[in-house]
Amino acid sequence: MSHVLNRTAAPAASATTGGRRRRLGQKAGRQHHGGPLTYALLVFAAVVSLFPLYWNLVAASHTGERVVQAPSPLLPGRELFNNLSIAWNQVDMGEALINTTIVAGAVATSTVLFATLAGFAFAKLRFKGRNVLLAIVVATMTVPPQLSVIPLYQLITEFGWVNQLQSVILPSLVAAFGVFFMRQYLLEALPVELIEAARMDGAHSLRIIWHVVFPIARPAMAVLGMLIFVQAWNDFFWPFIALTPDGAPTLQVALAGLGSGNHTVNHAIVLTGAFIATVPLLLVFALLGKHIVGGITSGAVKS
């Protein structure tokens, strides 16, 4: 998978840095070995990156009183399972976890499907208005969600969709980032001859999609699926408006509800909630981190 992903790095780099550097040696610029200072700084960066996550686990394994005591706990305590069961049952993090899985799964599946079709059309098919439409796709990436939430909220109130998961799924069915990502990949990875040969054999468009495009796009589809899943899992602004902590919250909405409780709140339980929301994604990253890193650097787009 990774060798295929390396190929996407070329078009992405040329898209963001100009075509002249296309396909130059991957190892360029890495000629020097890192010295002790390099390692010291990298270890420091890794510690700073990981420590808040580790401390989240530590805090989730102590009592609420211990978490707010002055030398902060630095080693895991014994309350983790107790806290987990309180968070799971009393604060309904279990339901939130299920809701989030449904939302992120639906959004990732549909985005990958639609983005692959559109990305294929933009990369390999000729049609009138292609360049203008592609420019529009890219431009839409800069429009913040703040500009659409007020009418959308009126709409879902009218439909009675507040606290219904479809109100957060439908607006995210396909994203410009995904279309652009798949286009960049297919531009390089899919030879036109393959499509032409399939056409010669009389294959209609659906067959070409199924037997030519999907098999070749599969690695990029997997990476895009993971990226979109992470994004949908962590999405905050619109879910915070469309769902409420006591209704059908996603994990993020439930966490916001936990955090805004009054000062008598049990901080160990709050951080156990944060732990529940974070662990599934960290597991995905630990298992598939390499591919996600490859996907991010090839897409080079944050949205």
């Binding site: 610029g29 020097h32 890794a46 990156s49 808040p52 500009l147 955090g259 709050v270």
Partner: protein, 336 residues
């Protein structure tokens, strides 16, 4: 012969209008098929891109325009709209809350973006060396990106707690008095910016790293022959070579900073929507949410949303002018 000509004739009629060349040896009922085939060829690209544009029209463009229309009304949720012209905008201009939120959005944006991108550049440079365990460092610095805004803000709110937080404990060890990270303006803005910086530095570093690895090696070799130090090489080869990527990350981070919402909201706990007890870290997005969902003034909230859009357009324009004047400077230098 006659029977074999029959289908061909039919096919000719169907084909005639478009005048596409036809294979005379092909005796199938190929007329319909080739016509279908051409429709298939012409229409499918539009079918493939249609879902994106339908979703964007319904959930992006239409709401954007409708927000603009609402910004000219006095309207409450479920209530009738009442035309007010530019009233909402002139009220914003006269409101201290608006200018406060605008200033906060700007300062938090600067404090969270500038150090973040500089550190990302440095990190990318380090990762570009030949190092052992590179895979580990990459995944480690990307872990914050996998953490949600809500979870990160909740953890950092504890770390930054004035009374028992670990950061004040650490400061205590080096003899610094406890900082009031929640109620004082600049400390609070720094704390919120820290959450943003923590989540995005590794991500940007990996983007820079990808760009750095595409810089041709011979540029470095030539510079080394000229006796340029490694630092010199970084300044005069690496940075100029990845400049388009740097510009790209600046644009993306600026867009993100303009919409900042979740971090201050959750960091502030029960005071989050107001951006702290004295609105000391209320951003434009928080003010918009407060107007729309706490006060119930959707027209005013819409006006704030459109101000954000105008801001983004202005930023885009400035960025465009800057990169153009940069290009001109380069040309001028080359000519002289």
């Amino acid at each position: 012969m006659a029977t074999s000509l029959q289908p061909d004739k039919g096919a000719a009629v169907i084909d005639a209008p478009s005048g596409a060349p036809r294979d005379p040896g092909h005796r199938d009922p190929s007329g319909w098929r080739s016509r279908l085939y051409r429709i298939d060829l012409k229409a499918t690209p539009y079918v493939y891109v249609a879902p994106f544009f339908l979703v964007f029209a319904a959930f992006g463009l239409f709401p954007l325009l409708y927000t603009g229309w609402l910004s000219l009304q006095k309207v409450e949720l479920g209530g009738e709209a009442e035309w007010r012209g530019l009233d909402n905008y002139s009220r914003l201009v006269e409101s201290d809350f608006f200018w406060n939120a605008l200033a906060n959005t700007f300062t938090i944006g600067v404090i969270s973006t500038v150090p973040q991108l500089l550190m990302a550049l440095g990190l990318a440079h380090l990762l570009n060396y030949r190092i052992r365990g590179r895979g580990f460092y990459r995944v480690a610095i990307l872990a914050p990106y996998a953490t949600s805004i809500a979870a990160a803000a909740l953890v950092f709110a504890q770390l930054f707690n004035t009374d028992y937080g670990m950061i004040n404990q650490l400061l205590g060890y080096v003899g610094i008095d406890p900082v009031n990270w929640e109620t004082e303006k600049w400390p609070a803005q720094i704390a919120i910016s820290t959450i943003v910086t923590w989540r995005w530095t590794g991500y940007n570093a990996l983007i820079y790293l990808a760009a750095m690895q595409a810089v041709p090696n011979d540029l470095y070799e030539a510079a080394a022959l000229d006796g340029a130090s490694r630092f010199r090489q970084f300044i005069s080869i690496t940075i100029p070579s990845i400049k388009p990527t740097i510009l790209f990350t600046i644009v993306v981070s600026t867009i993100g900073a303009t919409q900042l919402f979740g971090e201050p909201l959750i960091f502030g706990g029960s005071l989050g929507i107001g951006g702290g007890s004295g609105n000391q870290y209320q951003t434009l997005s928080l003010l918009m949410y407060e107007k729309g969902w706490v006060t119930g003034a959707l027209g005013q909230a819409s006006a704030i949303a459109w101000v954000m859009l105008l801001l983004l357009l202005a930023i885009g324009l400035v960025q465009r002018l800057l990169s153009r004047s940069n290009a001109q400077k380069k040309n001028g230098a080359a000519r002289s």
